[in-house]
Amino acid sequence: MIESILFIVLALLALASAVVAVISKNLVTSIISAGLVSLLASLLYLLMSAPDVAMTEAAIGSSLATIIFFYVLNRIRAKEDSRD
C-alpha cells in the first residue's frame, strides 16, 4: 500500500518536472528538471526492483547527460555573445 502511494507520488513528480522541462523559458531550469526526471525515474526503477537499471539511470541520465547538456549550453551562449 505504502509502496504504491510512493510509486504514484514519484510518478507524478516525474511528470511534473518533465512538463516544467518542456514549458520553461529558462534553459538552465529545463536542463535541471530534465535531470530530475531521470533521478525520479531511477527511484521508480528501484521500487520496481530493477537496481541495475536504476544505477545506470542515476549515473548516466541524471549526472553525465545533464553535465553534457550544460557544456553544450555554455558553448552556445559563448557563441551568441561573440555575435552580438
Partner: protein
Amino acid sequence: MIRTFGIILTLIGVAFLFFSLFLEYETPLELSGSASYYAASTAEDTGSANLVSAIVVTYRGLDTLGEVTILFLTSSIMSYMLKTKKARNQRTFRESSELLRTASALLVPFIILLGVFIFVHGHLSPGGGFQGGAVLASALVLLLVADPLYTVQSRILSVIESSSGFLYVLLGLSGLLFGAGFLDSRVLPTGRVGELFSAGLIPLIYILIGLKVGTELSNLLSVFHSVQGQDLMEDEGGAR
C-alpha cells in the same frame, strides 16, 4: 491555437493507447521459456549469483561486445570532432565555492571506490561493468565541477581504454580455445556460488568492461570540458 489543440489531442490519443495496454496487462505468474531456463540453471552453468550479469556477460556476451564497441566509437568520434588546439588560451573561471571544493576532495575517493566495488562485485551484487564505469565517470564530473582547471591525463585514459578492450576480446577468444565458444565464461573454474573468486571469467570481463566504460565516458567528458571557452573567432573562420 490550432497547434495547441492538436498537441492536446495527440496526447489524449497516446494516453488512450497506453491505457488500453495497461488494462490488458496481467502479471504473469510463471516465467516464460528462456526466462525459466535462466532462472533455473544460471547458478549451475556459470556460478554467478547475479543472474543479470550472467546473461549480459555469458549468454548474451556478443551483444555486450557490440555495446562496448558502440560506446568506443561514440567516444572516439567525439574526440575527433571536438579536437582541441594545443595552445590553450587563458581562461577565466569563477572560483568554485569552498563547500564544493572540500566536498569533492572528500567524496571523490569514495565515489571511485564505489564504482570499483560495483564492477568487481558484478557477479555477486546488482550492477556490473557499465554501472561501475558510469559511477567512475561521475566522480570525474565532480572533480571537473569543483576545479575547472583540472586536466585529465588523456594519454593514460586511452592506454587503459585500449588495453582493456584488447584484453576483453582476448578473453573472449580464449573461450573459443578452452571453453564452449566465443565469450564462454567457463574457462576458469566456476567455483562456489556467492564467492568473490567464482563464476569463471565473469568478474574479469566485468572489471575490463568497467575500466573501458569508465575511461570512455571520462574521455567524453574531458573532451567536452576542454572545448569550453576556446577562441570562437578561429572556429568561425574555419566554419565559413
